[in-house]
Symmetry: C2
Subunit: 258 residues, 2 copies
DNA sequence: GACAACCTCGTACACTGTAAATAGTTATTT
DNA sequence: AAATAACTATTTACAGTGTACGAGGTTGTC
């Protein structure tokens, strides 16, 4: 277990599949299932039961082929994961919003919340995103739209890249907290409250005097970490990030005017 | 494969192990290996070969006991992962720096870079940190120290929590990018350059016209994503985050003076 | 009809986490 | 000293994983 890597194996084969560059077979029987079927079945399983429920056998079974037939269509599990990532990447910023440079703050807000909703809809993406970027069409498209949120501000290309990465890095980090609650709940069948009610009696027996600040702050933020407000925390962090970018961008444009 | 969860199973057993609350055995033979041996062996394996090289059998073998003897000391793999996390958490902010409130910016900088170095030293932590927080002594200690970086600024406890979380969320997200390169390199034996040299010929055959912004920006940021400057990107993002916090904190303290 | 291309499948191997039963070791109790 | 309870260690076993290999069936082209 633990970490199959998305982006290993022959990178070329992955790319060909991502871009649909596999030439149509001229002979042979018609395939019962295509790559798209396998991928969407895998995504459905991951959405419903988490990433570790996705096995090549399960996926093959879901589309009605035998375990090993899976490998006729996709060379290995790593490639399947790449394809899954790119498949769902099509959902983010789906309507291709038109961004006006003057409203960069609203633009980035939109990008951030869209990515956040996306991660929450497919929490398994967060796990896979620990690996290499998938170079697929949908991933490219969403990156293109996201970058265009900071287009026309007088930033250099490198700055645009960094600004966007800052926002997305923050979103990723912030969503982790909300997403893992969801995952743990599903996998353990325990709600957060149940879990804490089991843990709390023990915590009351530990000596918190070596952690004075944590113990005070922890109590306030809700029963020593128990109650979260992910929504509020996300909004708070995003506002700070945008404030920080505001300082940077304002200074940039002020210089340009001189 | 994919995702064992750190924080499942009986939460109490995990906590007892984390806090060394297992009473010393009164009878029976002396154990060949203790919990600490198992955990440090596991950490060594994870550091050297990645998280997926850590199996209960491997760990048992490393300390010289038979596979199933592992379970005499630790109830399952989930608990092992919790213990691993807390074990290495002892390394972050090890010297317990004394933070002066007036220098909150330097303080948070220190916290951020310390966590960054920590993640880079143990990239597998990033994968596991997708799950629930480990309630262990070392984790508590590092959280306490980190929180004290923003102590005495006139922030409420909730604000302190959010400020710190913002910084740590960003660090986590930013480090991901650097850490995954390291991991992919180790696991595939391919350097980033090798990997890109294989991928590039293909990318040149794809039509980038649907992604005008990405294609332009990508080219500038280095061979369409090829060359990174993680160091620079990290510094850039952190500076923006701190700028954003500066706005918030300054406004706060200004109000207090009134 | 022959052949090559292609899909599907059964078997097999090395690995994983861990349940269950058994055997061996030690300190306490009788 | 013998019995017992508590504890560690080990063997065997099972269901699950990814996937290599090879055999067999199906389709289009020559």
């Amino acid at each position: 277990m633990s970490d199959e890597i998305s982006g290993r194996g022959d990178p070329l084969k992955s790319l060909q599949l991502l871009w649909g560059r596999t030439e149509a077979p001229r002979r042979g029987p018609k395939a019962k299932a295509g790559v798209a079927d396998l991928v969407s079945a895998a995504v459905a399983i991951a959405d419903a039961e988490g990433l570790d429920a996705v096995s090549t056998r399960r996926v093959a079974d879901a589309v009605g082929i035998s375990p090993m037939s899976f490998y006729t269509h996709i060379p290995g599990k790593a490639e399947l994961l790449d394809l899954m990532m790119d498949a769902v990447a099509g959902e983010v910023l789906k309507d291709r919003p038109v961004f006006k440079p003057a409203q960069w703050r609203a633009n980035l807000s939109r990008v951030a919340t869209d990515y956040r909703d996306f991660y929450l809809a497919h929490p398994w993406v967060i796990q896979l995103a620990t690996h290499r970027t998938v170079l697929g069409p949908n991933t490219f498209r969403s990156a293109d739209v996201a970058l265009s949120a900071v287009e026309g501000l007088g930033l250099t290309d490198l700055e645009m890249d960094r600004v966007l990465n800052l926002v997305l890095d923050y979103v990723h980090g912030a969503v982790r907290n909300a997403a893992r609650e969801k995952r743990v709940k599903e996998l353990t069948g325990m709600t957060d409250a149940e879990w804490w009610s089991r843990v709390e009696p023990f915590l009351e027996t530990v000596d918190f005097s070596p952690y004075p600040v944590l113990s005070r702050v922890g109590k306030t933020t809700g029963e020593t970490y128990g109650a979260h407000d992910p929504e509020g925390a996300f909004a708070f962090g995003l506002a700070r990030v945008l404030d920080g970018l505001s300082v940077f961008i304002e200074e940039k444009t002020a210089k340009r005017k001189r």
